[in-house]
Subunit: 339 residues, 4 copies
């Protein structure tokens, strides 16, 4: 059960209520920023009747609460004047890793030319092997920031460890949480306390419930600007790197107010499949795409197999144009259509 | 390796070659209808040099041979004047089970009105529990045949066991092999010997290699009219009945000449997800759709949760119209557009 | 709900009850051989009160009914004087496929020498590729029968298709249903009508519920002599052929009265892992083992990688001796210990 | 390829070699503590011939290098005088979470009485929901330390985030990395730099290759004291919380020199299955067990369903006694037998 407080409820009043709840056996969690208190196991609202500073109560039956469609109907916010959210569609593109000044500036210029507003790029890379390229670190972040500044792009980059939070937050506009960190609950809690949108990738074997609970971790700290990102799940067939769960897009939309985008690069693991799954995801209702591109894919230091060339990416953008009547959402600037 | 024979090669000549191969340690499999001989483990063509009735040889490196894109480039055929195949897209719709005369005639009339050419309907149903409705059996087949005749529809129905083959073949235009029978190798071999197209669903945990080998089972008997059908794979998340592997559609098209259609009804298990995944599958390149519909879904005796109402199905057809520029294949009659 | 009838209840009385149930909206399934009637959706026993030929009723809450521990407490039966069942442990061994007279007689003699009572061997083989050795067919069954007769062994062999039922039943003592046929419901129903024990392997991705429902299919036809067999499930890691679900052994024993044996040969797919998993399975409470052995594993025509040599199998038998205090069930003849 | 240096090789010499390698296109990674240099992509040893300070080279063909059996044959070390490793078996037990002084002292006393040397207990708990008990934090660590001191136990506790490393390291003897952090590569790298043994749980969907690469992350930092721990993998069947991959125990032993223990508490998720799988794991060759116990399981604040009562745990210890002839390794103090 969630209890929403009237505007001027005092800390003292809430503490009194929490004490009362504890005495009758119920844990409660105050979320100051949202002006509410979560009481997970309470089912009977009678216990709250005497507290007249409660404006309303809501009973939500799913394990996740704040991420649910019962909690609110939509999530929209803007990042440096670009609208993101349930009612929009945005394209994020860029290399897997920032590799060099030349590579990142060339990419940024290309995105700018194509009117894309968001650049992605990894500075600290999660690699399965310690003997693979692990990113340029802080130097990578700096290059990304310079290129983004020159070409008026917003930055999406991954946070690998909390110890890097200040650094990554300083250089990014949206903080990406990778699939391996989706269940890093300690990190999620900390992200609730900051003022940056979070792009929360689905764990490679995360159930929908678990994913939305991960969003609750962030939201219960007070940060409501979350974008979910489907990036493929692990299956039994080595024929593809992952299985892109396209149906999870409309499924999430039936359960949550959070926007959800698709990452067909990781979702398929193969450049030749990326454009097709990008289009399928948009038709399935995704609020955007995250696509790996590279000026010279065969030379990429990581994920070479799944990066699109610039030409292939432009062909995809052209294809998306023909899909607009079916997509029904404004896609970035040049691609915008009225709803 | 595959050895293709010149037109008038005699049985005796082939037998002689096979004997020679056996003596040097290689099994071979003659496929008379296709005028060829498969020699799976032979890598060096020199052993065949002396047989001058061999027109050409082909080395195919995948475990599946006849289903591969190296074997041929496309598969198109017609079923009672309707074109099916790699270059086309067709819609098959109908109830999970044939339940009554009224239900099946009402459905057939509805399909006819919407210019759909194929009706599906189960007479013998694979049910997880022996205490569920298992279909009307032969009576169901008869009703299906009468309704199809009246409304000029082609019939797709499932073969559950070889002992029913004559019966099912007599009443159907395309024989459906369900996901549980995809690895029923004895059945697949027998299906190679008949003259009916086979709709071969993917096993719920079949790897792509295994699926294409199942097609090879049928083709190696001489039957080349096969349609593959993706119907969702089993995953770790009980949030949905299956995970629809949309990416397998372009993946199969990069490996095989066989047409592939999508069954979003089983693929998602939920009526509210079906239209979205139907559209996503078509945009992903599917050669058609197989959709469960019912005049009154909530009363369906099987798979009630995933059947579309007539209204929902018509809405899907309208949506598919807006996708035509992106689909680029003729879809059935009314929906045909020039390639 | 299950209604059990008094001894002399007439067919007419039962039909009358079934008619009454149908009129009030409940399907019922009479299982004559077991003297009972299954009424899956009936929850309130009041509807049956007026039928005084009902001896007792039982409400079972799992989807599977006859396979449940609520239905009965244990299943024990004998096959040519050897006891099988919940209270026993038996070893079944032999080659994957019957390949030649020499191979099968050598194996049979070896088993006899080691006091093993059951021989396994495939005559019709389910092979993923149509270009693999598919077994000797009827000739294989005959060889198996001759060897078994000479060395006093009982035969376990697989039924691949119902059309082979008479033939396979004639030559075998226990009919094995492979993992691909576990959900072949039409076959399962037919097996309920015969008088042969059924060894029912778990499907490679079958849930426990589905597996026990498959047993219900057989039992609801009247055949109660079923042995379950865990043979590994499919996972995401290509490092092993399958993942042996050892915990399913005690899990099944907490849900069902049916005996369960372990097949570590398919369960692991690697000869070097087989003895270890065989021992682990016995310690986990298995009612026996099914092991692939071969006089010369490297020459085996199928499953060569997982077959134990005779020496390795004898070493396993010796190891099982040291485990007897922990196993607590009689294992075959020489290995018998008092409970 | 790994190049091992002669004892007095200077930093300068190594840097020179690395420069040379870089010039000819090969990245190399010096691991000072182990006196070696890893050159992942180098296959031809000729490039190293001129460097006479190289004592030997080793070509290891698996992606993981330092964790491989080719790198070394066994790993044994001691933790406050108790031997751990490939040649030993140890039992670690305790509650899921430290809940109160009473609970943890009662548990510690019980372990001491039973001659168990290691206590586990979580102070910071990874919980799927933010509205669940998340542990006592530092207070929990302190209680654990006091109880361990009084009862002469070694502490195993989980590190949830690098920011807690100093704190957790100060209070523990072995640092546990949970399944959600197995692929937290940044954390793994940092753990390579400390002097504490690491208990590295398998990710709930980690492939064997990925798990051993995670060990390589730690080892390549110079920390060689790693214990692997199988704790069940995620499957398609909600009938159990996880599937315990018992075969991975001998599989790992065929690939790696690292000891591997089993956690049947998480591996099964059900107290009634824990003792059976504990025994099966030991028979499968595990180097020990990690078991959740609680003075009053039904009152446990986390994982209540899988905790063993003290009685059940003592019964398991008694059962393990009867298995000793089959286990063939010394198990802790009272349970020690000569090899």
């Amino acid at each position: 059960m969630i209890a929403f407080f009237k505007p001027n409820t005092s800390t003292f009043q809430i503490a009194e209520m929490q004490l009362h709840l504890k005495q009758i056996g119920f844990e409660s969690y105050q979320i100051q920023k949202l002006g509410l208190c979560m009481i997970p196991n309470l089912k009977n609202p009678a216990s709250l009747e005497s507290f007249n500073f409660i404006e309303s109560i809501k009973q939500i039956d799913t394990p996740y609460q704040l991420a649910s469609l019962e909690f609110k109907k939509e999530t929209n916010f803007s990042v440096k004047d670009v609208q993101i959210g349930t009612n929009f569609a945005n394209i994020i593109a860029g290399p897997c890793s920032v590799e060099s000044e030349e590579q990142i500036f060339e990419t940024a210029a290309f995105l700018h030319k194509n009117n894309i507003k968001f650049i992605r790029g990894g500075a600290y890379k999660p690699r399965t092997s310690p003997y693979s390229f692990r990113g340029l670190g802080k130097d990578g972040l700096k290059l990304l920031a310079e290129a983004a500044k020159k070409y008026e792009l917003r930055i999406v980059t991954e946070l690998m460890d909390l110890s890097l939070l200040d650094e990554v937050a300083a250089y990014s506009d949206i903080i990406q949480i990778g699939s391996r960190n989706m269940a890093n609950f300690y990190m999620l809690s900390e992200l609730g306390k900051i003022n940056k949108p979070i792009l929360l990738k689905r764990g490679m074997q995360a159930k929908v419930n678990e994913w939305l609970l991960a969003a609750d971790y962030v939201m219960s700290g007070g940060n409501e600007e979350i974008i979910l990102c489907e990036r493929g799940i692990r299956s039994f067939d080595p024929a593809s790197r992952n299985v892109m769960d396209v149906a999870v897009i409309p499924l999430i939309q039936s359960l949550s107010h959070l926007p959800i985008i698709a990452d067909p690069s990781h979702g398929t693991g193969d450049a030749f499949l990326v454009p097709t799954l990008a289009k399928a995801s948009m038709v399935a209702g995704a609020n955007g795409l995250m696509i790996e591109i590279h000026p010279n894919p065969s030379k990429a230091l990581s994920d070479a197999r799944q990066a699109l060339s610039f030409d292939a990416f432009e062909a995809l953008l052209a294809d998306l144009e023909t899909l607009k009547p079916a997509i029904n959402k404004p896609i970035d600037a040049t691609y915008s259509v009225a709803i």
